[in-house]
């Protein structure tokens, strides 16, 4: 049986529409216009124990709402959710013992105290056995390189140091499931790298099922084996990251720099699509299956005086953008 099972779940919010203008103040106050907004619409998926799953989506696509529902914070409007055999929002306290959650945009650490004090509070709240607690603290400090700052008040820590402490905190009680909502937001490259390695290592060693949301596609590419793409509350794609790449890597991107144009005409839409033409830079998308690089260069040079060019296979970010653009049409 799957560890996390989400079946036909919807969640809607009632949003009050504010009419603008002074004459509408009273109407806004006493009979506001309400609009039902679907944060999540009829989504279903199942996650097995030990999986590393990435959620991708634009702001407002429903990632956070989904995580809040499976972690027991919000009730779904309809549908069923089961986590480790229990319903997370009806048995919130029981479910909470089993999960760790990091919401990257805010901190659960006491800013006036060193992180170790917040760890001790966590130990009390989760009733962690003292021996296991000490073992975990020592291990996490070593693994995340936190020796230098574990006695410094949190308000003096850098963003990356704080995030390491947050993630360590959420794993002290050895949860079976870890929810990470944008854990690498605003971090430098090294901190990101260390956090990614740590998440992967915990998953490999302890089999912690991890659900991760991020806007940084490199996070997902390097950490997750499976991704779920959400758009306007619906699932657009759910599957292995490899399959995603195969399915959506139909186009390559070529970037040219040019000295000038040969004619006033532009490249007609066809096998080559112009994505950008500005400041002597031309970016085109083309399908490697349909034309060779030589053909491409030949075609472009009929319109532009090319100085230089590079070709790259699209990364996930480009592919996701491609999907969104297709949806928008």
């Amino acid at each position: 049986m799957s560890l996390i099972k989400v079946e036909h779940v919807s969640k809607n919010y009632e949003v009050i529409l504010q009419r603008s203008g002074a004459k509408n103040v009273w109407r806004n106050l006493f009979c506001p216009d309400k609009k039902v907004v679907y944060a999540v619409q009829d989504i279903s998926f199942a996650i097995e124990a030990g999986e590393l799953v990435g959620f991708i989506g634009e702001n407002g696509a429903g990632k956070s709402t989904t995580i809040k529902m499976i972690s027991g914070i919000l009730f779904p409007a309809s549908g069923n959710i089961t986590v480790a055999g229990i319903c997370p929002y009806l048995k919130r306290e029981k479910n909470a013992r089993n999960i760790g959650a990091v919401f990257g945009q805010r901190s659960r650490l006491n800013w006036d105290l060193p992180m170790l004090d917040s760890f001790e509070l966590h130990k009390e709240i989760y009733r962690i056995d003292p021996v296991r607690y000490q073992k975990n603290v020592d291990m996490f400090i070593e693994m995340l390189h936190m020796q230098d700052f574990c006695n410094t008040p949190v308000r003096q820590l850098s963003l990356g140091q704080r995030m390491k402490a947050e993630i360590a905190l959420s794993l002290l009680h050895e949860p079976a499931i870890l929810y990470l909502d944008e854990p690498t937001i605003g971090l430098d490259v090294l901190a990101k790298q260390q956090i990614r390695e740590f998440i992967k290592e915990r998953n490999r060693r302890e089999g912690i099922t991890t659900i991760l949301t991020s806007h940084d596609m490199k996070d997902l590419d390097s950490v997750c084996r499976r991704i779920i793409i959400l758009e306007k509350g619906r699932i657009l794609f759910d599957g292995a990251i490899e399959r995603f790449k195969q399915e959506y890597t139909k186009e390559s991107i070529a970037e040219f720099t040019y000295a000038g144009k040969c004619s006033d005409q532009v490249i007609p839409d066809g096998p080559v699509r112009v994505l950008l033409d500005k400041d002597h830079r031309l970016v085109v998308a083309y399908s490697p299956a349909e034309m060779t690089t030589a053909q491409l260069v030949g075609m472009v040079s009929a319109y532009y005086e090319i100085n230089d060019f590079t070709i790259k296979a699209p990364d996930i970010e480009d592919m996701v953008r491609g999907i969104y653009e297709r949806e928008a049409d």
Partner: protein, 277 residues
């Protein structure tokens, strides 16, 4: 049945221990801003000391206020202040932080913990900032009982503690109602001002106010039960004003009001889970 009772006692003890641990950390954090804490206490004490002084000057100039002399009125004030201080020690931080937590989403972090919402908030919100209120009101109480030539016997002390206990419970209920409304309306400043400016009613004998306010301060928001009704009995005053012989009903009023406030808080918290922020 006995198992269930044992279990809830064990729960209560656990939350008490949690309060102890949280308070230890809060004090440690506070000590990094020692100066700010001391100045805060001094300024609050001065604030209320001046209020006491003005009241004494005013009432001694008029001789008495509807049959209550200056010391008796100051006693009313000090009982109200003491109860407010005790309730604030436990509940003020909940009220102070909850709207922000809900607004910014920090309340989600409470919900992902394996704890009951209200006991956890209580455990994590204990503060010592009301030392000034409590010390000052004890000093004034002692002064007033001395001036009224009422020796503080054990029996009197027991009655005083009873009054203060149920008074604190009523203030606690008020704090909870304002806090709970944060789940429904997010911003609670307005309700706080209504509830706690109305508190001034409890600084004076209820009988000097118009009948409408007397009824409101008895039935709607039971300020009268914090100090006026029980002190009227304690001081052996005539049963004028307010709603008759209500002193004995203070404990009932306090318990009913506090229970209703808890229910309101929990129902509102449930509302949060179905609507989100």
């Amino acid at each position: 049945m006995r198992e269930a009772v044992k279990e809830s006692v064990r729960e209560a003890v656990w939350y008490l221990r949690l309060t102890y641990v949280f308070t230890g950390k809060a004090i440690k954090a506070m000590l990094t801003y020692r100066c700010s804490f001391v100045i805060n206490c001094i300024s609050q004490a001065m604030d209320y000391a001046v209020a006491f002084l003005l009241m004494w000057v005013m009432i001694s100039a008029f001789d008495s206020l509807n049959g209550w002399n200056a010391y008796e009125v100051m006693l009313l004030y000090s009982f109200s202040l003491f109860a407010y201080g005790i309730a604030g020690t436990f509940f003020f931080n909940i009220m102070n932080h909850l709207p922000g937590q809900i607004w910014k989403g920090g309340f989600d972090d409470v919900l992902v913990k394996p704890v009951k919402v209200l006991p956890y908030l209580l455990a994590s919100s204990f503060i010592c900032n009301y030392i000034a209120h409590i010390t000052l009101s004890i000093l004034v109480m002692g002064l007033c009982f001395h001036a009224l030539e009422m020796p503080v016997t054990l029996w009197l002390l027991a009655r005083i503690i009873r009054i203060l206990l149920f008074g604190s419970l009523i203030y606690g209920g008020l704090f909870l109602i304002v806090s709970g409304s944060a789940f429904l309306v997010t911003k609670t400043d307005a309700l706080f001002h209504i509830m706690f400016f109305f508190r001034e009613v409890s600084y004076y004998p209820l009988s000097i106010f118009p009948k409408v306010i007397q009824i409101m301060a008895t039935v709607l928001v039971p300020y009268g039960f914090i100090n006026f009704y029980p002190l009227r009995e304690l001081l052996g005053k005539e049963e004028t004003g307010g709603l008759g012989y209500l002193a004995g009903w203070s404990p009932v009023a306090a318990i009913v009001f506090f229970t209703m406030a808890c229910l309101f808080f929990n129902l509102s918290a449930r509302q949060y889970k179905s609507s989100g922020s």
